[in-house]
Symmetry: C2
Subunit: 238 residues, 2 copies
Amino acid sequence: MALALVDIDAWQLDHGKAVSPQLRIVLRSRIIRNDLKPMCRLSEPELAKEYGVSRQPVREAFITLVDEGLLEIRPQRGTFVKRIDFEAVLNGRFVREAVEADIVGKLAERADPALIRHLREQLTEQSRVADRSPEQFIELDETFHISLASAAGLKGVWDYLEPVKSQMDRVRFITFEELPIARLIRQHTEIVDQIERQDVAAAKAATRQHLREILNSLPEIQELYPDYFENSRALTGE
Amino acid sequence: MALALVDIDAWQLDHGKAVSPQLRIVLRSRIIRNDLKPMCRLSEPELAKEYGVSRQPVREAFITLVDEGLLEIRPQRGTFVKRIDFEAVLNGRFVREAVEADIVGKLAERADPALIRHLREQLTEQSRVADRSPEQFIELDETFHISLASAAGLKGVWDYLEPVKSQMDRVRFITFEELPIARLIRQHTEIVDQIERQDVAAAKAATRQHLREILNSLPEIQELYPDYFENSRALTGE
DNA sequence: TCCTGTTGACTTGTATGGTAGTAGGCAAGT
DNA sequence: ACTTGCCTACTACCATACAAGTCAACAGGA
């Protein structure tokens, strides 16, 4: 449930704690960060040797990742990193849009000054890393959205969004060097502004537009890396 | 991912297919249907013997159910059916409300006559079983909501709602004999009506109200079965 | 050259044994 | 009576062994 991405290189297994959950997190991170590429084959015994454990914990980690739509186990054949499902990504965006718009709407009704301050601090922080580390910006972006949910007393809602987001994040990490960070920050600012003005409708609209922007690069990415995607036909979608 | 509830009594294990997923489904069904009660202890070896398999598949089924928030594994202590988390249920409702309102909104924009017909057929079907089998009504209710998502071309979205719904369904099954079925059908009808009239705002509002109604009985249930719930303090929540 | 049947090295799925940790009862000591 | 320490019966977790299916390479015959 607590599924933060971890630094793949610096990571090490803690033999004091249970192994399977740790493997789950690191494998999840590697997939979302596009370190393990779509269609890449994952061998149970190979990973077991690599991390110095037996097959069983690896296998259990696999199972949870299948549930999250990141892995595909073909019995007696092999386990593979799932290609990105175009439709799943769009569905994820739909869910996030609906939920986060409502969250922001709730916040706009109250416009708590302390919250506004807190969010504006995050905005300046985002600007600071903007032209330095896109990867770091993604983390701050995540923090920003979680803050919105928490402030609305709906932190638990974010847990439900976790698998939804993982699909979208894979897309972002493929070309994270080209993120239109400046624009994303402007949109964040717009959201905060509208919350502050207590304009519920405008705040919701800004949120929806922002979440659409996130996937603006999707068609482009799909054209650049068609092999990463499940169904290339979706480009011609209605 | 395909997680329909199964008939607990008539169910039997198919030795041709993989065991773990089957166990997952049947255990999930038993928990949601309140056959396995909150705080109930589940013994790995005992269930293994009961279903005539080894411990490993049972364990793997457990892991997926932990992810879904239905089970809790306390290492070296035991595995228990989770009590219902009041907050998780409310958060689930929040997510469903946001998402399904948007779905219905989309439908209201088009108001496809064939869809309207299809939905009205379901409504009469619902009325038919209304005063006969509450359990069957719950299934039809599920069908109704799935139909809405499918019609909007968002069937995939429903997959994301599955874990959300499981929390809510547990509540419904505890007192499913007392479901205000007539009222729920009226609300379904209201939704269809507003879709037909292409009144987007009204359709969304009707959907939201309906989903709030579903959990109207929650405080009452919590009072009747306080042991089933995680945190009884939530009753005084804002 | 092409087709076919077999073999063997893979894979995941299942079964089982061993390890470490927990909880509770019981007995000895205070 | 009360506390303390041990001991037994449990638990989840991990390791390992076995079973069953898949796939590709290869040998042999048409």
